[in-house]
Assembly symmetry: C2
Homo-oligomer: 360 residues x 2
């Protein structure tokens, strides 16, 4: 078992990575406040694979779950679904001290977190991430959200969980494509924060992530430590937390241009890291060879690094300009000097276009 404390301005909470599901001696008081009653939000896929085991375990530690199930996939991350869940909670007579437990990947976690933050102005919340991506990234840091027809994550809150319970066993049933996209985010932590993560990431076999025994647990733990450190220094995403955007400025643009179809988030981030590293090399920020290193690691893991056919540099710059995170005229990038060293850099759109054209 590995334990990391995430410290935010107003509260601290543990991220626990363990070999066995919900092996606890005792639970924090705030999760038992409503006589153990709790709301579990999950999706149909996870429910089929893991719910009966999970419910049994919850009962064994004193919780009385009521389960609400949503359809799997990003299309569930909308306002209608959010309201349905909130109304279900009213019908279940959930109170201010009734915790919400999210059992699932990023979609379930973001949606359930938003509901937990809004219901009666906020109830206790627990993340139980079931994908590698959620385990190393979206379950930590308190971001919640839903999409609007106009774009992704346009509405959301910062709502920190009471705990994150990560069980590596969920990865046994995770498709290789989804393991890969989690590994793409692991590489990101390696480049922006902790180079030790790079070697460990490429040790993992996406088709059998548990093959190397405790390796996957160690990897997840190191990523969690990196994320906890960054989030603790900048909870509301105004400064250093933006290091986490390495690969994401272009990644988000690529996803949006592709209409969120045919490419996973992690794949888009992989391509994003490659091209943002090319930008960094061209600006003299990155040491030579950075991009080659990134490409080599992505290749090892079976992740893409070339820009998808049909996406022009003009489209890419337009996509970056539309990014919701923008505040000024420039486009803000997290660029890597060398593994473990990151800087934030504003680049003017016209200059960006010029660099991208020169890269080809």
């Amino acid at each position: 078992m590995k334990r990391t404390i995430v410290r935010t301005g107003t509260k601290s909470y543990p991220v626990i990575v363990h070999e066995a599901l919900l092996e606890f001696d005792s639970l924090p008081e705030q999760l038992l406040g409503d006589d153990g009653r709790c709301i579990v939000i999950t999706d149909e896929n996870i429910a089929e694979l893991h719910l009966s085991h999970f419910e049994k375990k919850l009962r064994s530690i004193g919780l009385k779950p009521k389960v609400l199930t949503i359809a799997p996939g990003e299309t569930s991350k909308n306002s209608r679904q959010m309201l349905n869940l909130a109304q279900e909670m009213v019908w279940q007579e959930a109170r201010r001290n009734t915790p919400v437990i999210a059992l699932g990947g990023g979609v379930v976690g973001d949606l359930a977190g938003l509901v937990a933050s809004l219901y009666l102005r906020g109830v206790p919340f627990v993340q139980v991430p079931t994908t590698l991506l959620a385990q190393v990234d979206s379950s930590i840091g308190g971001k919640t959200g839903i999409d609007l027809p106009e774009g992704k994550n346009l509405l959301g809150t910062f709502w920190h969980p009471e705990a994150v319970w990560t069980w590596v066993g969920f990865l046994k049933t995770l498709p290789a494509k989804q393991v890969r996209e989690g590994l793409s985010e692991c590489l990101k932590y390696g480049y922006i924060m902790d180079p030790a993560i790079l070697e460990r990431s490429t040790l993992i076999d996406p088709k059998n992530p548990l093959a190397e025994g405790n390796e996957i647990m160690e990897l997840i733990h190191l990523c969690v430590e990196s994320k906890a450190r960054i989030v603790g220094q900048d909870v509301t995403d105004k400064g250093k937390r933006q290091f986490l955007y390495f690969g994401h400025r272009f990644g988000h643009a690529i996803e949006a241009i592709a209409g969120y179809k045919g490419i996973t988030h992690g794949e888009a981030v992989a391509i994003g890291m490659t091209y943002e590293s090319l930008i960094a090399e061209s600006l003299g920020i990155a040491t030579t060879g950075m991009t080659a290193d990134i490409k080599e690691r992505l290749r090892t893991l079976g992740l893409p690094y070339a820009m998808p056919r049909g996406i022009t540099v003009e489209m890419l710059v337009e996509g970056c300009k539309r990014d919701k995170k923008r505040t000024g005229e420039g486009i803000r990038f997290a660029l890597v000097r060398q593994p473990g060293q990151c800087v934030l850099e504003e680049i003017d759109p016209s200059k960006l276009l010029k660099i991208l054209r020169s890269i080809g």
Copy 2:
């Protein structure tokens, strides 16, 4: 001009009560972050009475407002309206640093505050309360919310404004009935916190609240000071902030039983204060004569104090049991010992019923 600083765990902000609208030498930097662009949310009634004046003033202090207007009344405080406003903000290309300014009463403030807290996970927010109720109560303390079909304020956030700009001139066009409901909340502060407020409240003529010159400004300021003190001690409503529920436990039940028709919030609170004081007297908590004092002041202001015909004690207790703030089995009341002294008291529903029956 009167100025109160509200201190929350994470930020502090000023509540400014002034004689003239928006008389500022300079604005906080965070309101000018998007080149002065800002979103004003108001309702049709206020727009007709005050918008042109308000817009002109905003421009004179360097802001460039884009106005979004909703239909007046509680029925606008729903999820559909919240989403419409958020989508309008996307179309206006509002960014993370584009402030939202709520110009209106409690409905506009609660709704606009929720949108501001959710849009891109939160943008700067300013309250410009136009009713007495909003000026002394709902604009301060960061509570936002919308109603669900199942009940009022079931979804919401805590989102503190950058500032509250209170102009007493708005009260000139406020109907006497709405001035009275504001005065009902003023009396509440008098009973729970600051007895000096009691005399000042009954000096105000609901039909002409500005008749006594600076009296109304002084009254609003004292109420703001009381609320700021309580909120500063318990931002998230887990303890002392519940003093503000004096009159509201029964008040909310009365409103719900009446279907939110035919009785204003302030009127329901007036009746609530009377009956909660009777409870306090019957428990030996309140000094004898408290209820008589409350009734006398309500009568002076033209506010009701008798339970509306058709509301039985059984209905009242049932209504209290359904209150969303409940966590345990008892019903929590804020009871007044004597003006300026308040205590929280859990009362078992069956005991409450017995007391109410004995009161008649």
